[in-house]
């Protein structure tokens, strides 16, 4: 629309235009808000202000003024909001209670070296630690109990395991189907198959979860004869079902956008339909297919309900026939029992922020690749 008019002549028009522009910024605003408010709840962990150590060096109430508010707040295990509401006298009382509580800790527990550890330090979040009573250093996620262990490596491993199984299952199938539908199938077949596969994405993930839980788990167990009925393998395959339509649509779109001249030239030179698809169209569309896999990855690590329903125990194991707990599952299952503002709550939000960052990067990468690929293809058309 190349027609521009002076806005002074039409103030109403000008206002409406500005309004439309402002509303259209809401998508940007939302992305920013999501990141800000998910990260905000996790800030104390990032800055090391959270302290979960049970046995602490008590601060005598008389020395209250020597410490910074942030230190006091962490020491008293309060949220910033609670802390702000309290006056000095209340804080003093709380500090007395804290000193008494420290004195009440049983003797044997006081001697436990783990009770002096602040388990939300980076060191304990990522590295293996030899906990009291364990023979070797281990990665443990155990957010309830007296000593809360927040090692997030088992969750990473669980997520990776389930996601990779899902992608290994989904990518070949979805790309194969995309090649078939876009290159080999007759137009009439294409018009039926394409919406049918897109319908698969219309199935809610809880429904796929129920199917995996009741039907697939049994079928796969009788096929592969493994021990635990519900494991990362079943979850991964079910996850694959959810990712197939995503990968399929993007890959199919990429394959179709390869200029017709390529195909016609190859066919004219005597190559078969398959040779054309495999040696001419697929290589040309490779960036698009790659982007499809990347976006599928983003979708897979973000999927919650399927994995939540199919497997949930957080064991540190690389075996695909063991249970696994992914990051999304952990957040969904444990948020209800986490005390608002407490260390567990903060760490769950931190996991959410990490997840957001991971999908943000994979989305950006996928979109960038597709954008470049499309403009290249359009130039050649």
């Amino acid at each position: 629309m190349g027609i521009h008019r002076g806005h002074k002549a039409r103030p109403g028009e000008w206002l409406a235009e500005k309004f439309i522009f402002l509303v259209s910024l809401s998508a940007i605003l939302m992305v920013l808000l999501i990141f800000l408010f998910v990260a905000r709840e996790a800030l104390p962990v990032f800055f090391g202000e959270t302290n979960t150590a049970l046995v602490q060096k008590p601060i005598p109430p008389d020395e209250m003024d020597k410490h910074s508010p942030a230190e006091l707040q962490a020491y008293l295990e309060l949220t910033p909001d609670q802390f702000k509401k309290m006056d000095k006298a209340t804080l003093r009382d709380l500090m007395n209670v804290k000193v008494e509580a420290q004195n009440d800790i049983p003797e044997d527990f006081r001697n436990d070296p783990d009770a002096r550890i602040n388990t939300t330090e980076w060191k304990y979040l990522f590295h293996a630690h030899k906990w009291n009573g364990y023979a070797n250093p281990e990665h443990i996620w155990q957010p309830v109990g007296q000593i809360k262990k927040f090692n997030i490596i088992p969750l990473f491993v669980g997520t990776l395991k389930v996601t990779l199984i899902g992608l290994l299952f989904a990518v070949p199938l979805a790309v194969g189907a995309a090649i078939y539908v876009s290159q080999l199938a007759r137009p009439r077949v294409r018009e039926i198959v394409k919406p049918a596969i897109e319908m698969l994405s219309g199935i809610p993930s809880v429904v796929v979860g129920v199917f995996a839980l009741l039907v697939m788990a049994t079928v796969l167990q009788s096929l592969f004869h493994y021990e635990t009925r519900l494991n990362a393998f079943v979850a991964g395959i079910a996850l694959g079902f959810a990712v197939i339509p995503v990968i399929f649509s993007i890959a199919e779109d990429a394959l179709t956008s390869v200029p017709r001249a390529y195909t016609q030239a190859a066919l004219a030179l005597g190559s078969s339909r398959w040779q054309t698809a495999w040696q001419i169209v697929l290589p040309a569309a490779l960036p698009g297919v790659f982007a499809a896999a990347v976006l599928g990855f983003g979708r897979a690590i973000g999927e919650t309900m399927i994995v939540l329903m199919v497997c949930s125990a957080s064991v540190m194991s690389w075996s695909i026939f063991d249970s696994a707990r992914s990051i999304t599952t952990t957040i969904a299952a444990e948020m209800a029992e986490a005390v608002a503002g407490g260390p567990h709550y903060q760490i769950l939000f931190m996991l959410g922020a990490l997840l957001f960052a991971a999908t943000f990067i994979s989305n950006m990468l996928g979109d960038f690749v597709i954008h470049r690929f499309k403009s290249k293809m359009e130039g050649k058309r």
Binding site: V23, A185, M199, R260, M335
Partner: protein, 329 residues
């Protein structure tokens, strides 16, 4: 097949290439071509097979449990008993949250799409950032939306509303229907934007030019010419958003869903029961899986019928819009 007349090689139209190549293949049979083409065909069949299996499994197992009594009963606290249970509050809750969501998401989504197609220059930096943001929003994991709803809508907006309006007693600063709906609105924003944009692009530029040439302003053109034409596309976007949101559970886990409520939700600050969440509860929290199974399947069938009916309508309208778009190009 031995004698080939030249006329068979002459393509009548571009869609004839398929027939031509099939002719070549018949003359020189290439095993590997046949083998690999077959493999891709099998992959397609396999995916369709999965789809069919899931649907059939649920329809066959769920059909018997479905009755008027089932969809119209408010269950007692113990909803694992097949004879007295029902899903009315879940249907109402799901419908309620989806309707509230639509009220928020459609205007914002449509206005954004109007800006992107009618006003923005395609190359400008701000347009590219908006597009990137929309794409990103579409890829954010649903559980992160749940965290966002909790961190922003409940802990920030709701708590501050309570401070201002209710003397800090908890009315809005807790999980509620409105927060779940708003969270879902943020999640489905890209769906509405993309569908609306698609339908706006399918409107011939000539229509706009004619309107402008007759002296209508740009805003008048958009409101009176472009939008009425784009209505089917906007409806598609709305329906797709609704069907996506109706099946989502993760975003509402912390923002409004309740395990059990004795009455139907009546206020925006109420919690609600939900079909998808109920499916999750039935399949994971049941004391006796075998007894719960018929209820579970019937509930899944209700959920699936709801989302699928919406999806099919959306697909049909979209097919019409796309046909129009293709005719233009």
């Amino acid at each position: 097949m031995n004698t080939v007349t030249p006329s068979q090689y002459l393509p009548e139209s571009s869609s004839d290439t398929t027939r031509m190549t099939r002719h070549f293949r018949a003359e020189k049979f290439d095993f590997w071509s046949f083998f690999f083409s077959g493999l891709t065909g099998l992959a397609t069949l396999f995916i369709l097979g999965i789809l069919a299996t899931i649907l059939l499994n649920i329809i066959v197992n769920g059909w018997n449990g479905l009755s008027w009594h089932f969809v119209s009963t408010i269950p007692k606290k113990d909803f694992f008993d097949i004879h007295t249970t029902g899903v009315l509050p879940m249907i109402v809750g799901t419908a309620f949250r989806v309707i509230v969501m639509t009220i928020f998401v459609i205007p914002v989504g449509v206005i954004t799409a109007i800006y992107l197609t009618e006003y923005a220059a395609n190359t400008s930096v701000i347009t590219r950032i908006i597009r990137a943001a929309v794409n990103n929003l579409a890829g954010v994991p649903s559980i992160v939306f749940g965290l966002f709803g909790l961190g922003f809508f409940i802990n920030f907006v709701g708590k501050n509303m309570d401070k201002l309006l209710h003397n800090a007693s908890a009315v809005w600063g807790q999980p509620a229907l409105i927060w779940a709906s708003l969270t879902l609105a943020v999640m489905t924003l890209p769906v509405v934007i993309v569908a609306t944009e698609e339908s706006l692009k399918a409107i011939p530029p000539g229509l706009r030019e004619a309107s402008l040439a007759l002296g209508a302003t740009k805003l008048e053109t958009i409101l009176k010419i472009v939008l009425p034409q784009a209505l089917p596309g906007i409806m598609t976007g709305g329906i797709l958003a609704v069907s996506r949101a109706a099946g989502e559970v993760a975003p509402i886990l912390f923002t409004g869903v309740a395990y059990y409520m004795a009455s139907l939700p009546s206020h925006l600050s109420d919690q609600f029961m939900d079909l998808g969440y109920h499916v999750f509860v039935l399949s994971t929290q049941s004391p006796n899986i075998e007894q719960t199974r018929p209820i579970l399947y019937a509930t899944v069938l209700v959920l699936l019928m709801l989302t699928f009916a919406l999806n099919i309508v959306a697909i049909l309208i979209r097919a019409r819009v796309r046909k129009k778009l293709r005719a233009l190009q």
